[in-house]
């Protein structure tokens, strides 16, 4: 490959001056503040999670972390999102 010309070299340098770090910082600030807001969900969430876990466990053996309860804010609405991860193979889980 041909060596970079002097003009190209300086153009390249000027472009990289701006750098991708500032984009990274901006994106991080947005996502982190979003995730922090979710963290501060209602107080009953852990209890709700625990009770749901107990109900699920009557039927399927799942990890303590298998039940996830999140509150999403969407304008004036709050959406309660419930996620239950079942074991990879149901039969195995039920036998234990």
């Amino acid at each position: 490959m041909k060596a970079m010309g002097i003009a190209d070299y300086f153009r390249e340098r000027r472009r990289s001056r701006r750098g991708s770090a500032s984009v990274a910082k901006e994106r991080l600030q947005i996502i982190v503040s979003h995730e922090r807001a979710e963290r501060g969900g209602p107080d009953y969430l852990p209890m709700l999670r625990q009770e749901l876990l107990e109900v699920v466990r009557r039927y399927v053996t799942v990890d303590p972390d298998a039940v996830r309860v999140d509150v999403e804010r969407d304008g004036p609405h709050e959406v309660l999102e419930l996620n239950i991860t079942l074991p990879e193979r149901m039969e195995e889980g039920a036998q234990r």
Binding site: Y9, S16, R17, R18, G19, S20, A21, S22, A24, K25, R27, L28, Q29, I31, V32, E35, R36, R39, D63, P64, D65
Partner: protein, 269 residues
Amino acid sequence: MSRIVVITSGKGGVGKTTTAASLAAGLARAGHRTAVVDFDVGLRNLDLVMGCERRVVFDFVNVINGDARLNQALIKDKRLSNLSILPASQTRDKDALTPDGVERVLDELRADFDYVICDSPAGIERGAHLASYHADDAIVVTNPEVSSVRDSDRVLGLLASRTRRAEQGDDPVREHLLLTRYDPQRVKKGDMLSVEDVQEILAINLLGVIPESQSVLNASNAGIPVVLEDGEDAGQAYNDAIARYLGEDRPHRFLQAERRGLFGRMFGG
């Protein structure tokens, strides 16, 4: 009063085990009785990084199950007499660590050591939870890179809500940031998040910055905690961080790019 310190990060491969090995060796060298515990059940690695892999007889899970006494499982470091290592089990049973078992072993370690360093597995699952649950202090190891910073923030959320201290309403876990694999040259070019950027986002106390360095790989290749390599930049940076952890006030080093001549700038990349 002994302290339990968790080395955590969320993301894997950022330098937790390297940091656990160096913090433990550094504290021991400073005269403190120190134990370092590998919580990464299934993937034992701390022993290798510390160079005692051939002396593992019993492990953490053996102690929890009552198959061995703690003293039989602890490996005494050959370089530092007041440093001991408790290796992880290689069992594939991820439930091998039980909350009660971990508590019992940590209580026993607390009685014999000034510092108990818990090397957390990656992720935020059971193993990571158990490693951080009893912590008094947390060292959050972070790379100047988006996914690592985001994971660190999630881990901070868990430290504030799902630890013994949080649940019992005690003083919160003391959180420290350790920024690793830092490349001042790339920061200067604007291609890497700066230490100020990361600090602004995570907003916790900065314990230290470890420069990206060949010496880290060299040390782990040889099974030596890099902090014991006094002639190397990464070793010195770890040394500074440990001194700060112990309350000393030391200026941060290795944050500026080395001055390079025109030749180096054009061909150094």
